[in-house]
């Protein structure tokens, strides 16, 4: 369903071009969970941003194609990308505190994507609230009504991250991109988030692109994994196989 081909991203920061991502190819099939693992500076977040259509910056050049069910995200005009964002791709950021607006209620932020498309979808306030509560419950926020009326600082880090996942899911996207969604969280909370993502994938068949620096988390969640280093794909394949028989020296080093 998603095919990334020859993706290359270059920065122009200090007059010299700096390659962030080079020759990246991979595919995500329907209903699959793909992991990207790499250390800081490996270009994993850049790749995710490119797929989500968030790289509309003047200080970088990009080439290649990112094909999502027939539309090329990388080379589409902004208006087209905005249609895809939210509708077909949901995005969850690393830091649940900074990715939420502290002065808006959690419920309003979960509804955000629906509110923008209120007219085309013909939604009423009631519909939106019901849908938001439904999604929030589905990601394991049991007292969704209370959290709907809370501000971000009133709920815990784990709850915030679930709320962000709910916000990414309200429009039932086909692909959910999670950029280090559990790095800022404690391990016990991390496990619950991973379980939620797993369950979501099994129930609704949503594909997930999961980015992490932690190979053991990837192993617990993903079917396939792409190992990246310095902007290049080092190794790709089935998680279990790579974990048991890493062919590249670098992958071995990543396993603790």
């Amino acid at each position: 369903m998603l095919t990334v081909k020859d993706l290359k991203i270059e920065f122009f920061d200090h007059d010299l071009p700096e390659v962030a991502v080079k020759d990246v190819d991979f595919t995500i099939k329907d209903g699959e969970i793909l992991g990207i693992v790499g250390e800081s500076g490996s270009g994993k977040s850049m790749t995710a941003m490119a797929i989500a259509g968030l790289l509309n910056r003047k200080d970088l050049t990009k080439s290649g194609t990112i094909d999502l069910d027939g539309t090329d995200i990388l080379n589409s005009p902004r208006s087209k990308i905005r249609q895809i964002q939210g509708n077909e791709i949901g995005f969850v950021f690393q830091d649940p505190l900074n990715s939420m607006n502290p002065v808006l209620k959690v419920g309003a932020q979960v509804e955000e994507a629906m509110r923008i498309r209120k007219k085309e979808l013909g939604l009423t306030k009631e519909d939106m609230k019901n849908r938001a509560l439904e999604v929030m419950k589905s990601v394991g926020l049991d007292d969704a009504e209370r959290i709907y009326e809370s501000y971000p600082h009133q709920i815990s880090g784990g709850q915030r991250q679930r709320a962000m996942i709910a916000a990414a899911l309200v429009l039932k996207p086909k692909l959910l991109i999670c950029d280090e969604p559990t790095t800022a969280l404690d391990v016990t909370v991390q496990k619950r988030i991973i379980d939620v993502l797993k369950e979501l994938n099994e129930k609704t068949g949503t594909s997930i692109l999961f980015i992490s620096h932690d190979l053991s988390v990837i192993k617990a969640l993903c079917d396939r994994v792409v190992v990246m280093k310095d902007g290049v794909v080092v190794e790709e394949g089935n998680v279990r196989e790579i974990f048991e028989n890493p062919t590249k020296e670098y992958t071995k080093q990543l396993i603790f």
């Binding site: 391990v187 496990k191 603790f256």
Partner: protein
């Protein structure tokens, strides 16, 4: 059997205007051992480290410690960004070990060898170095005052996995070579399992479990430890 370099008895510290802090903690570190302090965010492990190193004055309890070296978590903020590495090391000798100041050049050379850094780092600013190099300099600065115990507050959690491994190897080596006691504070079970001989587990300001590294991981007694192990996707 062996000599205690640090002992904490019934320590209690509650932050003013809150009920958070650490309650009734007792622990000790033997010479030459690496003791782990494991817990999730907000469990009070940093508070404990601050009490032991004297940054906070404990409300109750007793702390008996020999000379302490301290390694900070954030290797960006723990080295003064406006000064060159050479200056920082020199300053550390000047105030941490003034009687040896006359031979500071030799000391700096030795210490760099010990933390496996090249002498070229001396003329650089901390921001020009990589995370691993900065953390090594942090360790060097802690060692320069000839401590008996090293308190390492999350020394590797800001680093990449491959760099983490190198720094852990270095800490282990220092421990063996100098018979240096280390109190290793971390939230990461994998790291703690890798490095520590004896482990204390902290939750909400209280010790929930302690024990030898192997027995604790193979046979945890408290529910919380089991939960923690279960969540960490260990092999």
């Amino acid at each position: 059997m062996s000599e205690k370099v640090c002992e904490v008895k019934n320590l209690t510290y509650i932050y003013p205007k809150s009920d958070k802090g650490v309650k009734n903690i007792s622990l000790y570190v033997n010479k030459g051992s690496i003791v782990g302090l494991l817990g999730e965010s907000g469990c009070g492990k940093s508070t404990l480290a601050k009490c032991i190193s004297g940054q906070l004055k404990p409300g109750e309890g007793e702390i008996v410690c020999k000379k302490i070296g301290y390694i900070f978590q954030d290797n960006y903020a723990s080295l003064n960004p406006a000064k060159k590495v050479g200056w920082l090391l020199k300053e550390t000798i000047k105030y941490g070990n003034p009687e040896k100041f006359f031979e500071y050049e030799k000391r700096i050379k030795n210490i760099l060898e010990e933390v496996e850094l090249d002498e070229s780092v001396l003329t650089h600013y901390p921001n020009e170095l990589s995370g691993g190099q900065r953390q090594r300099i942090g360790i060097a600065m802690a060692l320069l005052s000839n401590p008996d115990i090293l308190i390492a507050d999350e020394p590797v959690s800001a680093l990449d996995v491959t760099v983490q491994k190198q720094v852990i190897k270095l800490i282990k080596k220092l421990n063996e070579r100098k018979n240096l006691a280390i109190l290793f504070i971390s939230h990461d079970i994998k790291v703690v399992r890798e490095i520590c001989n004896y482990i204390y587990i902290l939750k909400d300001g209280e010790l929930v479990e302690e024990g030898e590294s192997e027995t604790l991981f193979t046979n945890p007694s408290s529910e919380y430890t089991k939960n923690l192990l279960d969540s960490s996707y260990l092999e």
